[in-house]
């Protein structure tokens, strides 16, 4: 019998994740690795993995620190290109021959970590000047930085406008470097899942420590935070870089899951799934300040995006609706507006779904709501 409730929680989470993974392995076996599994489910899991990391990491700066950053995909682009170029270089240097064996796994791990670190450095360089601004100004300047980053990559002689497929690096990622084909995506699906789990654990540890408390304090009241001895600029910059780190890692996974890289997929205005607005929608939908909310919202938004583009039912809709669906950005904007109107705090608010505390949390929340009602009644009476 474990007395410590924290240890209990860790154990519970580990058990549930293990059960899910075993279930997944069975599921994989049952489908026999057939066409649908290979062609649809596995790529979807890859995509969900980097979307989850992306949303959760943006939540660190948007939800927990309270700083609206619109350049998150810029950091993802840094990570994606860093990982792809590094892996190409490693292959040219003959570190690995084909995409199997320990040597390749080491290169893969190295690329992912390097992608994160490089993105974090860029995040630091952007954060130091940008975080002097607040609110709308910060949003605008980070939007600008995101565009600048993408443009810089565009003009790198070895990355190229056309992306890594046709650029001067010339080799297609699909055949060389990191890019995984259908079969390799199945083989290395565990890499995507493991990286996602590690990232999430790192983020949870961060928010449940002095760092998490400090940045939530800054979000709630920056002046009071500094008057409580919190070095606000340090914690803001650090969190910004930390969050960029994970965007970089998500970028590395993106580089793995795609045959080609093109800067336009990270551009702010692209109609696809990887633009900074889409990530903001995921965070707001899930709930600012709830990592579990971001995870759920990332999956939901992935499904929405997938259905809009591939769903059979779309063909039965009236033509005007289908036309709208061909501009997914419009749909995301509508989703964002609906969420803000009907559930401004997102699905989860700042509540973290916790297996251990599920029932006691519901009780506590009810207590808090009751207290709030009493308080407002009292205020009415006094005022």
């Amino acid at each position: 019998m474990i007395k410590n409730r924290t240890a209990q929680g860790y154990l519970l989470n580990t058990v549930v994740i293990a059960v899910l993974l075993i279930g997944f392995a069975f599921f994989k076996g049952a489908l026999g690795g057939g066409g649908e599994f290979k062609l649809i489910i596995v790529p979807s899991i890859w995509q969900c993995c980097y979307l989850i990391i992306l949303a959760a990491s943006l939540n660190l700066s948007l939800g927990f620190l309270g700083q609206l950053s619109l350049g998150h995909c810029g950091f993802m682009a840094v990570g994606a290109y860093a990982a792809a170029l590094l892996s190409l270089a490693a292959e040219r240097a003959g570190v690995f021959e084909d995409k199997s064996g320990t040597a390749f796994l080491l290169v893969l791990a190295g690329c992912i970590i390097a992608a994160g670190i490089l993105a974090a450095i860029v995040g630091l360089l952007v954060g130091i000047p940008a975080l002097r601004l607040k609110g709308d100004y910060l949003a605008i300047i980070t939007l600008g930085f995101g565009m600048i980053i993408v443009n810089i990559i565009n003009n790198l002689p070895f990355a190229g406008q056309e992306g890594l497929a046709l650029g001067s690096a010339s080799a297609s990622l699909y055949k060389n470097g990191l890019g995984f084909g259908t079969a390799l995506k199945v083989t290395y699906i565990w890499v995507a899942i493991a990286v996602t789990l590690v990232c999430l654990v790192m983020m949870f540890m961060f928010v449940r420590s002095k760092y998490g408390r400090a940045i939530r304090a800054i979000r709630d009241d920056e002046i009071a935070a500094s008057a409580s001895g919190i070095n606000t600029s340090y914690y803001k910059t650090f969190t910004f870089a930390y969050s960029a780190f994970f965007a970089g890692v998500a970028g590395a996974l993106y580089a793995c899951a795609n045959a080609t890289l093109s800067t336009s997929s990270f551009a702010f205005a692209n109609g696809g799934i990887l633009n900074s607005t889409f990530v903001v929608v995921m965070v707001v939908l899930g709930g600012m300040g709830s990592l579990t909310g971001s995870i759920v919202a990332a999956v939901i938004m992935f499904l929405v995006n997938y259905q809009i583009k591939n769903g059979v039912w779309v063909q039965h809709l009236p033509a005007w609706l289908q036309n709208i669906f061909s501009f997914p950005m419009l749909v995301y904007a509508v989703i964002l507006i609906i969420v803000i109107m009907f559930r401004p705090k997102g699905i989860f608010g700042s509540y973290e779904l916790s297996l251990r505390n599920f029932f006691s949390d519901i009780k506590l929340q009810r207590q808090n709501r009751l207290a709030q009602k009493l308080e407002s009644k009292e205020a009415l009476r006094n005022g």
């Binding site: 420590s209 002095k210 400090a214 409580s228 001895g229 919190i230 070095n231 207290a371 308080e375």
Partner: protein, 257 residues
Amino acid sequence: MAEERIPVLETRKLGITFGGLVAVSDFNIKVFRGELVGLIGPNGAGKTTVFNMLTGVYKPTEGSVLLEGEVLNGKKTHQFVAAGIARTFQNIRLFKQMTVLENVLAAFTKDIKYGMIETLFRTPKFWKTEKELKEKALDLLSIFHLEDKAEYVAANLPYGQQRKLEIARALATDMKLLLLDEPAAGMNPTETTELLECINAIRNRFGIAILLIEHDMSLVMNICERIQVIDYGITIAEGLPEEIAKNPKVIAAYLGQ
């Protein structure tokens, strides 16, 4: 002799102007360890502005702030806190979405020794620190009878308790000087009496210096050892409560309001 001790707080010719407006000028004060000094004055006299200069929120345009003889000018707010000045705000500023306990814990941040490695790997040092801090925070909350509300979201507390929580949070910074900006504002008489007891308890327990802004004259007269009065940013009187109560300038300033 009081004169020979180093005061906890000393200001020399402190002043600030906003554009053309001289908000505070030539402000001199000395507060010694264990003392409770009142800072009073009519609306807009510049009391809060003094506090803002004493915590680095505003940069004074002239003069200097000394804490135990060390000049603090030009430092940032969190460095003022690290040096030992803590404050509360006239219009309560809590970390609204955080729990009561977390509000106090957040104020420990600067003294927490663990770093990212300990955070990520949850080392014994991490757990030990967190456990100790939690106990310390609950202990602080118990001074204000808030320990059983530890898990409440701060915004949900009744007004009087929010004010108390703000003081508890200030105490968590381990300060030498506590600045209280109208702590009894908006409280009913019972809450005010309770608060006074708390302030006295704090002073006896921590042996710190307290500088208190208050509108309620009778309250200030009751608990402060010395009082300084400002009007239009200028010190018009200072001394013992009974002297202040009789001072014609003070009476005029308050009547003229």
